[in-house]
Symmetry: C2
Subunit: 235 residues, 2 copies
Amino acid sequence: MKAIEITQAWNGTEKCQQCPIRDLVLFADLKEDDFRLLHLPINDLELDKGSILYEQKDEINFVYTIRSGLVKLVRYLPNGSYRIIRLLRQGDLAGIEALNGSAYLHHAIAMQSTSVCQIPVKNIEQLNSHSSHLYRQLTARWQKVQSEADIWLADLTMGSSRSRVANLLIYLADSRPDESFYLPSREDIGALLAITTETASRIIAEFKRAGALNTLRHTAKIDKIKLRHFQQKGD
Amino acid sequence: MKAIEITQAWNGTEKCQQCPIRDLVLFADLKEDDFRLLHLPINDLELDKGSILYEQKDEINFVYTIRSGLVKLVRYLPNGSYRIIRLLRQGDLAGIEALNGSAYLHHAIAMQSTSVCQIPVKNIEQLNSHSSHLYRQLTARWQKVQSEADIWLADLTMGSSRSRVANLLIYLADSRPDESFYLPSREDIGALLAITTETASRIIAEFKRAGALNTLRHTAKIDKIKLRHFQQKGD
DNA sequence: ATTATTAATTGATAATTATCAATTTACTCA
DNA sequence: TGAGTAAATTGATAATTATCAATTAATAAT
């Protein structure tokens, strides 16, 4: 287990243009001519739960688009504990820092079965120098990272543990078509919100008892109305 | 007071090339030819403490380079409280989200006397379409924002209040030539670290008593050795 | 299916932080 | 300078969360 499997390798030309999440990914705006500029192969990777997409020390030759699944960006602290800095979902870009030639800033680890496109940085650079279409996508993505980090900071680092967990669940459920989502382990919830595993567990259990959260294995659904009662004590 | 004064207006050509913080700012890599592409005037603004550089609702026509001083990016919450999302210092870029045509994401407020360059977004766009020099600076800056946000999240949102305040002071003192820095109000420290004003005050007072922090008005110096004792309880 | 292992839950208690309130200190403006 | 206002500090107490420890539930391996 914890395998990474290359299921396909291709040069963008046809495959990327038929990509079912085309409008979400980096190459959204590219024209047919642009695709001819892709020289290195793009790989399609399937990651098992727990497998590592990249680590901080890794050589940085790729950026990754998440096609499906869930990836956590993790920063390990000197004392051995860790903090989850951000979650990446469908359409998100991992390893964007590679484009500046700086090292990866975190470890990227699949939280569930995940499929990604592995795009060589050289491809991006080539495209960038010959076509301006990619530029908008890249800056837009940088901006998305930034604004999500801000929201994260505002919603998920203040207030009581209870309201932080409620906000996290609402964030996780957000924009899922069927409203069901992957519920992280209590340890990961702790690492996401800077609370202990036990506190995370108590609150999740409390939400379940109140009927605000229903789980089957790691698949969860929330009752937003009931959950809102836990969001803020003051209003 | 709380005035914003336009002290100078110029077209980049000579003025920007002589800028004393040229290597820190957006135009660092530009060549003489590039500057000829700047058509709209760049303004030099002087902000008094407390004055507002921009608000979320503002029309977004400018990005700003901080020449000196300290700016806080503030997000107001529905219940009237606020959270400081990030601090900007010399060389940092404010309002970078304007480049994607999205609204400003925060209020930007001067925490002390601050001077900034106000750069029309149109200038940036013009430069970008005619010269590739700016691209590197922009992506590098985006990346810096991202990596600092990550560090922030890891250092300033976990651990005890005491260690968070210690980390904030170390961050503020960092890279100041004379090691002296502007100490924010206790309320702002609270908004930065998601703790109450009172807790912030108690900890600052404790650091002063221990000789780990010395203040004269809002100018502060830290004793890093002594401060480290407060950083982490566990090591 | 059964055992071994890991994750989740719960309890009791200690430590931390928020809250409410009062006082002292610093700053502003006439 | 001196009164008025805002900011910082401190105290007492309540609420929240961490810590340590035990138990139960879920998952994986044979």
